[in-house]
């Protein structure tokens, strides 16, 4: 037998291989865990035919509060409603704890006076960094409630702290940039009792919350402006699922137009599509958190980021002080916003895979963390693993700026209550008008806490409403109508593969001149193509299985989202945070300290409106431009006739 090659050696070698040759090589090689076996059996790498799936035993539910989506927002909403004594059902397209965005957080942040947080400094940082579109009232909610949220998640076991992969020895911390290997399975097995994903379903069970997984909700049913429940289907079997409910919390996440192999593929604007078609206003669509990559390793989410997902969640905070409040927000702007602009426009891949250790250290220090590995510094205890960061972080075009996209519930809303009786929205991508505004100046870990805080509020409010509301059941006619819509792609005889359509949308939306450095001409050109997809392709999306049905419906949602996003981008004729217009390369406080809402009108058209933010969120309008805004886009200062700055670039350094 040829010299046995360990899996680590193999992965190490793979870095220099083309993908195809790597697989070929793997096929001819014994695995590390086979080394101890005395006899090697030939491996089988072909699959059995795809079998049929039985419909679930239960397809009709009835409850007080229905929660759609089992991520952080949904989990907290369901738990809060159940704690109020209401009968709660959860429907999840995947599996609670694994679906949507819930596999992807790396960190958790809360505000804590006892740990020395200065709330005025935090307020100053977010107001400046959100570029004056941040909802300061919701930020006050977070300051008050985030510690309770942290304690709740901690008690559920979701924030368990245990050895990181590097500390445990399962990750090979050799410091050799060519070696990104480790025993992922061994690490997971050893610390399986801390696996936070398993805690989601455990909490639901403990609280007596019934849930149905692999159930894609396709519509929320409303009669006479009052919610009656939701209809969807069990994806593997195609069985139609109905849930009659007095109140509904939509915690369905945001979305992206993702190329294959990238993370967060389960979020596809399902909730936004339903809400828009119910006539609710959608906001924040011009702010997109597309993590553009021209990197050496796009799509290698597992190697790039999975240690982060297997490691304990990084507990963070304490890094924004009175002295650093403005510089912190400025740095975030440079890192998150300007860096992608400059990188994409210059075509520069920041990382060729070298200098990994330096990059990892920068990744910690730029967030105010410590690389000392001193265990006493508990709030900066993670991200010390030497690992390939690559440059993707879940790169996916279409991804809304955190907590800014979704249903606009008005300037005074503090719980996600919509204008439909009994209907709440909650979580990232579902509820617009969050505290992060045009950018995300909060530091890592804010989202997982904030959406949990808001989920808790929505769940409580929905439970209080349900306690006195009457149940209106969904009529048989409505169920039949929704069933027909769900099954429609199966009857298309000649049409388009949803995976093909996905790639067309991706190609239309992902060029940097459409989504990063936008202009009237490029947005209009993309919109023309998206309208073509909407009118010619979407009606002819073809499904050969119920798996395909899911993809076809998701494509419908993505195409609507693209239209919303392009129209909002056209309407905001200025530059602010995660929205850069090359033809209006400056902040325009006079005309655009507002949200842009898009709403379906009676004729089926799209109404676009500006809703000015509250005066007290606008900051000091008498301040000069260069104090109000502390990082600048290409040609911004020049256009305004202000003295130019030395170009600083972003995290990647000078360009």
């Amino acid at each position: 037998m040829a010299k046995s090659i360990s899996r680590r050696d193999f992965i190490k070698g793979m870095a220099g291989f083309g993908a195809a040759s790597a697989v070929t090589a793997l096929a001819g090689m014994p695995a590390a865990h086979a080394e101890s076996e005395t006899e090697l059996v030939e491996r089988v790498t072909t699959e059995l035919p795809i079998p049929e799936v039985e419909a679930p035993a239960k397809t009709e539910y009835e409850c007080d509060v229905l929660v759609i989506g089992g991520g952080f927002a949904g989990l907290n909403a369901a738990a809060a409603a159940a704690d109020q004594g209401q009968r709660v059902v959860m429907l999840d397209k995947g599996r609670p704890g694994y679906s949507g965005l819930s596999p992807w957080p790396s960190s958790h942040r809360w505000a804590d006076k006892e740990m020395g947080d200065d709330y005025d400094a935090l307020r100053k940082c977010i107001q400046h960094g959100s570029e004056y579109l941040g909802n300061m009232d919701l930020y006050e909610v977070w300051l008050e409630e985030s510690k309770g949220t942290y304690e709740r998640l901690r008690d559920w076991g979701i924030l368990d702290q245990y050895e990181t992969a590097a500390q445990s020895g399962f990750y090979n911390d050799s410091g050799d940039p060519a070696d990104c290997s480790g025993d992922y399975q061994g690490y997971h097995e050893k610390f399986i009792q801390h696996d936070r994903r398993t805690k989601f379903a455990a909490v639901l069970k403990e609280k007596g919350i019934e849930y149905a997984d692999y159930t894609m909700v396709t519509n929320v049913i409303v009669e006479n402006n009052k919610v009656c429940g939701a209809v969807g289907f069990h994806v593997p079997s195609g069985a139609i699922i109905t849930c009659h409910a007095k109140a509904v919390v939509m915690a369905m996440g945001g979305g992206c137009y993702k190329p294959t192999g990238f993370p967060t593929g389960g979020v596809t604007f399902d909730g936004e599509y339903i809400a828009y078609n119910l006539g609710l206003p959608i906001a924040g669509k011009e702010f997109d958190d597309f993590h553009m990559t021209l990197s050496w390793a796009p799509g290698n989410a597992f190697l790039n980021n999975n240690w982060t997902y297997l490691d304990p969640l990084w507990l963070c905070g304490g890094d924004i002080t009175p002295e650093t409040a403005i510089s912190y927000a400025t740095t975030k702007g440079k890192v998150m916003v300007l860096d992608r602009v400059t990188k994409s426009m210059t075509g520069l891949a920041v990382s060729d895979g070298t200098g990994v250790e330096d990059m990892t250290k920068q990744d910690v220090t730029r967030r105010g963390g410590s690389t000392s590995e001193n265990p006493a510094e508990v709030r900066f205890g993670k991200c010390n693993d030497t690992m390939y960061k690559g440059d993707i972080y879940g790169a996916a075009v279409g991804f809304g700026a955190h907590l800014t996209n979704g249903v606009f519930c008005g300037l005074d809303d503090l719980e996600g209550r919509t204008s439909i009786d009994g209907l709440w929205v909650s979580g990232d991508g579902m509820m617009a008008c969050g505290p992060t505004g045009a950018a995300y100046p909060t530091g890592v870990g804010f989202t997982s806490n904030f959406v949990s805080t808001m989920g808790n509020r929505a769940g409580k409010a929905a439970a209080e409403y349900a306690a006195t509301a009457e149940l209106t059941k969904i009529s048989d006619e409505r169920i039949a109508e929704e069933t027909e819509k769900i099954l429609a792609p199966l009857s298309v005889e000649k049409g388009f593969d949803p995976n093909w359509a996905r790639d067309q949308l991706m190609n239309i939306m992902s060029p940097y001149w459409v989504y990063i450095a936008k202009s009237e001409a490029t947005l209009q050109a993309a919109l023309t193509q998206v309208e073509y997809l909407r009118d010619k392709v979407v009606p002819k999306l073809q499904a050969a299985s119920f798996h395909d049905v899911r993809l076809c419906l998701e494509m419908q949602h993505k195409v609507l989202n693209a239209e919303l996003s392009l129209r909002a981008s056209l309407a905001r004729q200025e530059t602010r945070g995660l929205h850069f217009r090359t033809d209006f390369p400056y902040r325009d406080d006079e005309n655009f300290l507002c949200f842009i809402t898009l709403q379906k009108n009676a004729d089926g058209g799209m109404d676009i409106e500006k809703v000015p933010v509250k005066d007290e969120w606008k900051g000091d309008l008498s301040e000069d431009y260069k104090s109000r805004y502390t990082y600048y886009f290409p040609r911004e200062l020049e256009t305004l006739g202000l003295p130019a700055e030395e170009e600083t670039g972003g995290w990647g350094g000078k360009k």
């Binding site: 993908a19 079998p51 997902y309």
Partner: protein
């Protein structure tokens, strides 16, 4: 990246992958007591099937599947089409 089969022999039928995958990539063959990687083109490379695979039957490869592997799918979707037809007829 995408999930791929390391060795079907090692699948012990624990169903972990089918249970955790949020992308509907897996099916389970009840007769053979083996998982089936049915739709790898929709894998989001979260790696949860891989780390939860009790038999260590799965691996993660650098390949990404842009489309369904058409010839393979054609040979295996007959049963699914039949199911779909039954629902439409109902």
């Amino acid at each position: 990246m995408s999930v791929a089969r390391y060795d079907l022999n090692k699948c012990i039928g624990c169903k972990s992958c089918v249970t955790v995958c949020p992308m509907d990539v897996f099916r389970f063959d009840e007769a053979a007591k083996k998982s089936v990687i049915a739709y790898p083109e929709n894998c989001q490379s979260c790696g949860q099937c891989f780390v939860n695979c009790l038999g260590r039957s799965l691996t993660i490869v650098n390949d990404m599947y842009g489309y369904a592997q058409t010839s393979y799918r054609a040979a295996t979707t007959v049963a699914m089409n039949r199911t779909a037809q039954k629902v439409i007829d109902r």
